[in-house]
Symmetry: C2
Subunit: 193 residues, 2 copies
Amino acid sequence: MYELLYEKIRENISISEEEFNFCKTLFQPKKLRKKRFLLGEDDVCKYTAFVEKGLLRSFIIDEKGTEHILQFSLEGWWAADLSSFLTGEPSKYNIEALEDCELLLMTKPAWDLLLEKIPVFERYFRILIEKNLIVTQRRLIASFSDTAEEKYYKLIQNFPHILQRVPQHMIASYLGVTRETLSRVRGQIAARK
Amino acid sequence: MYELLYEKIRENISISEEEFNFCKTLFQPKKLRKKRFLLGEDDVCKYTAFVEKGLLRSFIIDEKGTEHILQFSLEGWWAADLSSFLTGEPSKYNIEALEDCELLLMTKPAWDLLLEKIPVFERYFRILIEKNLIVTQRRLIASFSDTAEEKYYKLIQNFPHILQRVPQHMIASYLGVTRETLSRVRGQIAARK
DNA sequence: AAATAGCATTGATCTATGTCACATTATTTG
DNA sequence: CAAATAATGTGACATAGATCAATGCTATTT
């Protein structure tokens, strides 16, 4: 436990073992079974979660009742509704385990304490959020200019492994198309080969 | 000069006057005329720019030759291609002044120095990027679930002032619809009143 | 004031994707 | 292991918005 976290942190910043030991005390380990929710809409996002094992999805349900997946969080990534976690306002998002998960949870007070005691974590989180922003900007542009097929192609280029772990209708939701459309796109690709 | 910058920084973090004085030395003021470019695609984004006055747009041109506006940067905001600025790789974006602008430019080495000397700026930039991420996530979800009219409505709720300063076809591009569609949407709204 | 260029509007099609309905196939779960 | 449930595939049809093309504005510029 914590090895992956240590590794991921040191990919971006350098901290001493002592500092990491303090950091560890701020987390609470938590197992979350498949289909259980880390966060439900209208609740405040009390934790930011580091994923040691498993896979979660963050999604929103719009006024028409359609689900839209904002993010998949795999091992080594974080899952939370940033906006709610930071402001303490109720979230519009849901975060659900798609597999049995092992998480490391951190509350907002613990997070504040971490940043206060070891300010270099500001840098760590800045870098994480930057990467997330860059990915989200690309998805936004893709939603403007790519066809369903192009979006699907890019996904299998960038995250080939995700396809094996996530049902197709969730891939469709992540791409912003219906499951029927994705099914047809896949059919056409297969037919061409 | 620099008052707006000082104000914006202190909205998010607290720094001493001395620290701010050091910070100031890292910028170079620059006037940029309307229609001139701060960054052209295939160039490395050498500066991150604080906007003291004026208005810029960041946009990308896709394979089909269509422009897509990622962001408008008004007074008090920043403009840059984060990805290129951080990595030093050529940018795919263009940044163009839509009005005569007064900017404060900072190079990557200056930026690194600022973060090294006054680490609390890590926090400042983290908060900025967080806000940007939250807005971008909302736009992504909107692109999945909102009609052209809904997207336009939300824009005039959130940025009523921008409409007076930006030609309609650029608003359309920001929303991810064609100028014709936006024109029709506006016509329908007007007809209903 | 004429001229030129950029913007916005409007109409007539076209098309990718959505919607609805049902069939088929996997995967859970009692 | 069977029944229930969830996921995928396919067909017929509907539609929001794109595309293409012409026309009318409005601002600068000369």
